[in-house]
Subunit: 145 residues, 2 copies
DNA sequence: TATTGTTATACTCTATAACTATA
DNA sequence: TATAGTTATAGAGTATAACAATA
């Protein structure tokens, strides 16, 4: 019987994609651990961050900056609006646009999500010294659509 | 109206999670571009790599090394078996186990997936010199469950 | 004509819980 | 009791295509 230690991973450990996936799964699970019942996939988190830092931002801009399709943003905004964390408001200058505005309860929720996110990232801080963490972020930032 | 250049990303660019997610989405889309009709999420790829390098590997071992639940492996193996890329075979020594064996057509398919994967990763090679790519991989490898 | 948002639809990925067969 | 695999179910995440309203 093949022991776990003897499993041959072949080229997987040398692939960017495999390592990115493993790392992201680990991070997501850690986040789920420290924020039980919180934001599972961090979609809401990104949305609220953008709406808080950019009041009146449009859905198409959220779509661009979270690099997901505009149709995917609709469901995200629906959920957040349903939870009372933000409001759509038809823009007066360009009536095709919905400006997105975070609500007071959305600000509260965002704060707790940010706290969870900090705790989550801290769990991995021991893995890197500050220079390494910076370099990891900078290297990752080069990989874009 | 808020211009795209003026969107404030707040803390997002400083988060490991956000950068991992953006990088992984970019990689997945590049893979979809170079292997149209290929393996969308690379689940099948990992499975076939493991079965090819470790004939008779069990589903629970695949589960551990791809860091997904054993129940999730079932669907993956179902698809691969349905496509004729591998076969389950009840182990004689431990009859609870299914040994997984890649088929000749699975080997062919894996080769084409590997080629696509190489092409995909090459598209990002220009972003890093070899030392940087190594370091990125090594830093990512520290982030594990 | 092009853009913004929406709806409808579908597929992938993953998880949990409860089950069967085997150890 | 514990492990390997399965089934059933559910939810998140994403995409494409077609559409209405607006620019």
């Amino acid at each position: 019987m093949l022991l776990d230690q003897e499993v041959n991973l072949d080229l997987l450990p040398h692939l960017l994609g495999y390592n990115l996936r493993c790392a992201q799964l680990a991070l997501q699970r850690q986040l789920a651990r420290v924020t039980p019942g919180g934001d599972p996939g961090s979609g809401i988190f990104g949305l609220l961050v953008l709406c808080c830092a950019n009041p009146g931002i449009s859905q198409i801009q959220v779509s661009r900056h979270l690099t997901i399709d505009k149709a995917s943003v609709v469901a995200l905004v629906d959920r957040a609006e349903g939870a009372g964390w933000l409001q759509r408001q038809r823009a007066t200058t360009d009536r095709r646009r919905h400006g997105l505005f975070i609500t007071p309860s959305g600000v509260d929720h965002l704060e707790s999500l940010k706290q969870g996110m900090r705790t989550c990232e801290q769990a991995f801080d021991g893995l890197f010294d500050p220079a390494e963490r910076d370099q990891l972020i900078h290297l990752l930032q080069r990989i874009r659509p």
